[in-house]
């Protein structure tokens, strides 16, 4: 009612209203107990409570725009290689105060326990982190790969019941099985639907859109062009336009947004999201950057911000809490320039970023980051490597089932390559632009090692390796040299997980990821620096696939051919050819 003074008054900025998609003249936001108490014309508090200046704090922010904190409707924190607490720092610097996180990477390694560790991490983080419960762990089955986790329908139900943060079912990745009526897939969908929880989607291909909708899926972040975006909207899905480093194939926003700007669809059910981000890309191409991409593509300034705040809150039914500057909402606020670049961020009424720098209260919070249990630090249980990491040299002529890299790098081509007998491997490698690839089971279950050949990967010498081999997260190593490949493997064993680039017997770059073999336990700037250095070494080694693309080589749900710890597998045929077949 404006009868008593609030704790804090943030005064003088214009208001970016996500409720009405307008910019309103100078306002002030009254904050009490971490929430917005009222929004008034600028100067109201000073006039009303003129004799009581000491009763409340005033922060003068004239000249800018005040807006609600950004709400990212779909993100995998693990992709940043950071813990939730560390991720919070990067997010807040970008004006993001809420994320809906699908922690299916750690679930693939540590099962439901990993999801719960991450939820504890999330509760400690100075960021609103909601869970979209991982729905497709493992991505396929133990017939094709060895994963650490197996989220059954019952375990998923239990996560919903134990964690109020679990507000939706995460992207249902096995859309082909969903469309085919697979029993386990639908039992998992039912866990969400019977609790009235929304279901997030992951669908490639217009022919699957209606079947997904009929199965209860109500969003997508995979609309890659205007036609499929339009299809999704007409099939009742909220469309999350995904923006990301334009050097990657994940930056689909500019095409998908044309469903609105060219085909005339209403933007009311359109959001923006990040999905996956390296630590350094997160600082360069965060949610704020994606919002600016939407503006550049034709959305009005307030509408672009709404698509990154109120609309995602509405999608999850949390618009009473988040996504707008109104009484009763969390005081999660951002001060922007007219360029939509965040200058300062408030989280629950506390200024955590000021003039693009972390403030003392945030420093304090980040010094108290969640510590993962010991078990999380011992997930990389590799076999003792006794035999070679490269394949045996064929003694006779063979046809090799080779994985050929093709840009943009998601789909991998299946090449059947005739190899004549040769004196050593070098001749084959040079002639066919090949390198060795191996996947080592790392969950301590089978100790299996699978061998393969990569074509057009571009590696000039040495080896690269990673324990973030999607989705089962076995260790993948590629190289031209047996000794360097070994060194790469032993380096990651010693680091308890990570990624490294090795050249001539030397580790030239590495990022230690000791938590589940997926996450660093350092703060965001440290991880970003290490990642930048590693990516430079990676590119210098000549790799045509970026690090994140390399990690997808074992992902047995994307065409045409992949390699897991169990060997080669073709998609969607799901056949398991040997590396070498007798030449016909």
């Amino acid at each position: 009612m404006g009868r008593t003074a609030p704790d804090l008054v943030i005064t003088g900025a214009r208001l970016l209203s996500t409720y009405t998609d307008r910019v309103l003249p100078e306002r002030e936001v009254w904050v009490a107990a971490g929430r917005v108490a009222a929004v008034k014309p600028a100067g109201t508090a000073r006039t009303l409570f003129s004799g009581r200046a000491g009763d409340f704090e005033v922060q003068d922010v004239r000249g800018g725009l005040i807006a609600p904190g950004l709400v990212d409707p779909h993100v995998h924190i693990e992709s940043s290689m950071m813990t939730a607490c560390a991720y919070a720092e990067a997010a807040l610097l970008n004006g993001t105060t809420t994320v809906f996180c699908d922690s299916h990477e750690i679930a693939n390694v540590c099962d439901a326990a990993g999801v719960e560790w991450m939820l504890r991490d999330a509760r400690r983080a100075p960021l609103n982190i909601f869970l979209t419960v991982p729905s497709t762990v493992p991505a396929t089955s133990s017939r094709y790969e060895t994963a650490g986790g197996d989220l059954t329908p019952d375990k998923i139900g239990a996560l919903f019941d134990r964690w109020p943060e679990a507000v939706a079912l995460g992207e249902k990745m096995d859309f082909v099985q969903v469309a085919a009526g697979d029993r386990r897939s639908h039992a998992i969908l039912a866990q969400a639907l019977r609790r009235g929880r929304p279901v997030c989607g992951h669908i490639y291909g217009r022919e699957y859109v209606a079947a997904g909708a009929a199965s209860g899926i109500t969003d997508t972040h995979e609309a890659i062009d205007r036609e499929i975006a339009d299809d999704f909207l007409e099939n009742g899905a909220w469309v999350f336009l995904r923006g990301g480093n334009p050097a990657t194939p994940w930056h689909s926003l500019p095409e998908a947004i044309k469903a609105v700007t060219e085909l005339g669809a209403s933007p009311k059910r359109v959001c923006v999201c990040t999905d996956d981000r390296d630590a350094d890309d997160l600082l360069l191409f965060g949610m704020d950057w994606v919002v600016r991409q939407a503006r550049d593509a034709g959305f009005s300034l307030p509408l672009a911000w709404s698509a990154g705040s109120l609309h995602p809150a509405e999608r999850y039914g949390l618009d009473g809490e988040l996504g707008g500057v109104a009484p009763g909402r969390r005081a999660d606020l951002v001060l922007l320039g007219d360029d939509l670049v965040p200058r300062s961020t408030w989280y629950g009424g506390v200024r955590v970023v000021r003039d693009r720098r972390v403030t003392a209260p945030l420093e304090a919070a980040l010094s108290r980051r969640y510590v993962y249990p010991k078990k999380a630090y011992s997930t990389v249980r590799l076999p003792v490597v006794t035999g070679p990491l490269r394949p045996e040299l064929p003694a006779a002529a063979v046809v090799a089932n080779v994985i050929r890299v093709a840009t943009p790098g998601i789909v991998l081509r299946h090449e059947r390559l005739r190899l004549e007998p040769a004196a050593d491997w070098n001749e084959h490698l040079r002639r066919h632009d090949l390198c060795f690839v191996a996947v080592l089971e790392r969950h301590g279950k089978t100790g299996g090692i699978a061998h393969g050949l990569l074509q057009n990967f571009g590696l000039r010498e040495g080896a690269v390796a990673s324990t973030v081999g999607h989705d089962a997260h076995n260790l993948i190593v590629a190289g031209l040299d047996e000794a360097d490949m070994r060194l790469a493997v032993e380096t990651l064993r010693a680091l308890r997980g990570g990624v490294c680039v090795v050249r001539r017997g030397r580790v030239v770059a590495s990022v230690a990821l000791p938590v589940a073999g997926l996450l660093s336990d350092e703060r965001a700037p440290v991880v970003a620096r290490q990642t930048t250095k590693m990516k430079k070494a990676w590119a210098a080694a000549g790799c045509t696939l970026p690090y994140m693309g390399f990690n997808l080589i074992p992902l047995s749900v994307i065409p045409d051919i992949r390699i897991t710890d169990r060997g080669l597998v073709t998609v969607p045929g799901m056949e398991t050819p040997p590396l070498f077949e007798p030449a016909g």
Copy 2:
């Protein structure tokens, strides 16, 4: 996927898309198991399954528009004086397939049991009926009036837990108490908020908007002009534009919609609703009429329909089920002309209205209407009337506290009228344009009778009476003649509740409302006919207040003065003056 034939194909109409606010070229809707299976270009099924014509039904609806059934976000079914099953018929004729109903009238009479009877009625009705749990029963307290119900916070919590239909807390009418931090009011709000359920509002006055929002209220249907509508939107509330018989003050849509059409607010959080409707007005001014009003005020044709379908579904987080024509949604559909007049309605894939007529399946459903328990038929427990219904004639000069009717009829003025001694009442009545009014406690609790005087009510002779005296629903009778007043009371006693018009010892019109003294147990056309006849007699008697306005005379939460079974009460002062005070 379109691989197997559906049960039913509705083909040839253009599609009104509420998801993108566009009209799409000719489509066909495939229906299976009562839900939309797919939406395809018209003619697809005939081509795909050409050899299997008998496998599925085809309904050709060329020339029209197919749209989702309307979703009314705020309605009191009791205002129609019909049961839920009977209400369904009128709703379906109007293209409405879902309502969010606040049954606070029957709660005021029968407590939680009444709400539960109505929920059972709703489950039997061929209409999606959700409950917004009555939040303010009684409207004030036993100090001011005697009600039959008392919905405590615990009872409200139990309704949420027992009934999945209970998706929100109904309009919190005591907005002054809410703003003042009243303990019981906030305990009731907490029942919804802690379950993640939205809270509906009822606020008059711009100074209460922010306080309501801060208390968790996230909608309004009481925005009466563009400025307060704009305030509500900026305070994060969904705005339900209320349309109704333009002869009543409830038709606030044309002014409130100007927040969008003149002030430039986005319409994305704007809905339309009906709130209260007589049975006959429901057939004339239903949701479809309100949607057309929004179109006439400047909304595009698809946006107007969205405001009456998808937007309300989104407001309650049910857009995965309702509000659009997409796979997985209920096959609740309407066939419209370009004039937005519904021609045919499908409910769960069954055509229930065809060319504006009830079909055989609906006839069958309506013949199996829910029967309320015996207890519901014995709620009008009036005292034996021994004394007069008119006040004692004052022997000396007095000041009378008179209730003066003023148009538009919601607010009643407090008139202090000096009465000199007179030979009989007739002289006073004629000179001051007065009539008698009495309220009789009818819950069998106190047997109390309160007397008062009405000014400018216009009644020329006889009496009118009703057991629908908001919100405690005691019997209210007004008249010029003691005998006619008695006859009116005894008529309603015999009918076990209702409304009647009496003239010169004869009942000229009546509607029997034996269920809780609020509802007829007849079907919609019967109740509409009886209501029309009663309203004609009512107007012929000269009454300046319509029937529905008359029912509000005992509503002790609207200014300036009201009369309940306990006597006169002023609002908002909440004083209880006597009818006569000694003249000074």
